[in-house]
Amino acid sequence: MRPAPILSAFQQALGEAWAGGAGALLPLGFFAGAAVLVPLGIGTDPQTLRAVGPGILWVALALSSLVTLERIFQADTEDGALDLWLQTGAPASAIAGAKTFAHWLAAGLPLALLSPLLALMFQAEASADLLRNAALYGLGGLAFYFWGGVGAALSATVRRGGLLISLIALPLYVPTAIFGALSMTNGPGSESAPLFLAASTLFALAVAPFAMAAALRLAAD
């Protein structure tokens, strides 16, 4: 197994994510925009905002992953890059995983890094917990990107596939979203929730690349 095609897929995806002038700022803008709409929608009471803040950020993270993933494999099926990669003999699962990981690196990780700032805007107390939460957003985001990647690969040949990705990926996002939101509360089960969150991410990393590979072979047919 030669690593060259996998590396090239990774670099291409990274370049793709940074292209368009704004680079990682574009998903950040979407994330911030979605989060800022919430106080306008539900009112500005500090108590309410403090309670819903972490959950709103999870929702915004899931939405922005869906938006950035829409074109991840579609462009490759259109310009033929996918056929070339599949012919190199490198495992399709590794190529799909590398591409998805690159998109998480360019769009998912910046969102996690921005989350402490947004949490402060949602009236959270400034403490080390915000950094811990940022790590959890990064971890959960990885699961979102990999499951979303399955939806993106399945709908790679579908026009206006973005709407389809949301419907397909939504049930797969559930465990991550639940463990993620639970790990930021003080309720029962909140101590073990970060571990379950990590487990759900590992599960996504283990399963999603193979589902993506099967879907990409279908898209290349």
Partner: protein, 243 residues
């Protein structure tokens, strides 16, 4: 064994008499179950009085919601490995039926929940959530199949999604189980036998078996329709080719 069933001709011969038999038996069983359930059995005040009679529709629907998703995933798996067309036709036919029974389960559950728990819907209830997400899995499966441009592609994409969904179902179930549940625990299938009074249990079992047979009959009918559809397309293509 799978290969024996994979022959469409054999399936058509079998379902020709099996489907009507399923319908007849299910009519008897559901009829008896409903008659007992709605008029004969005493009402249980603890479960909300007369409203508990919705159980004879709600519990079979819940059981079929889960069983049908599993059946769809198993059929997808068989198609994915052995490429038996009848398995794919079965998976395709199960999806809309499963979605309907899942919707019935959600609707009757809401109707039962309002007078007894005082709410139509409870977001942190484990069972409601897992059934709701099962409903979404069915919808996603149908939407994905419908968006593919050939039958073969629809089968492959659908099979991948159904299998990915099936391995996620236990995880979804586990994650929502962490929430405290309003829903009562299972009272039919428990380790030390049914905890329910026999007067409720028998109509419930009859109703459950009846719904299962109705589901099986409808699945066969939809599969037959799909096979006829393909035969018609084939015959049409042949006519066109011969001019």
């Amino acid at each position: 064994m799978f290969s024996w069933f994979a022959n469409p001709l054999r399936f058509m011969r079998l379902s020709n008499w099996l489907a009507p038999l399923c319908y007849a038996l299910s009519a008897l069983l559901i009829g008896w179950g409903l008659w007992q359930g709605l008029w004969m059995v005493p009402k249980d005040e603890y479960q909300g009085g007369d409203i508990m009679r919705v159980m004879f529709l709600h519990v079979p629907a819940a059981w079929l919601a889960m069983a049908s998703y599993m059946a769809m995933a198993v059929m997808s798996f068989i198609w994915f490995i052995w490429r038996h067309e009848v398995a794919d036709i079965a998976a395709k036919s199960i999806a809309p039926l499963g979605a309907v029974w899942t919707a019935i389960c959600l609707a009757t559950g809401s109707i039962w929940g309002k007078p007894t728990w005082g709410t139509w819907w409870q977001w942190d209830d484990a069972r409601m959530m897992s059934v709701l997400f099962m409903f979404f899995l069915f919808l996603g499966y149908m939407a994905l199949r419908a968006s593919m441009d050939t039958r073969q592609k629809a089968a492959r994409a659908g099979a991948i999604l159904a299998m990915v969904g099936a391995i996620n179902v236990p995880l979804i179930k586990f994650s929502v189980d962490l929430f405290t549940s309003l829903h009562q625990d299972s009272s039919v299938l428990t380790a030390d036998g049914p905890k329910m009074a026999a007067v409720y249990l028998w109509p419930l079992l009859a109703s459950g078996l009846g719904h299962t047979l109705l589901f099986a009959g409808l699945t066969q009918t939809l599969m037959r329709a799909e096979i006829w559809d393909r035969r018609t397309a084939q015959a049409n293509a042949k006519l066109m080719a011969e001019g």
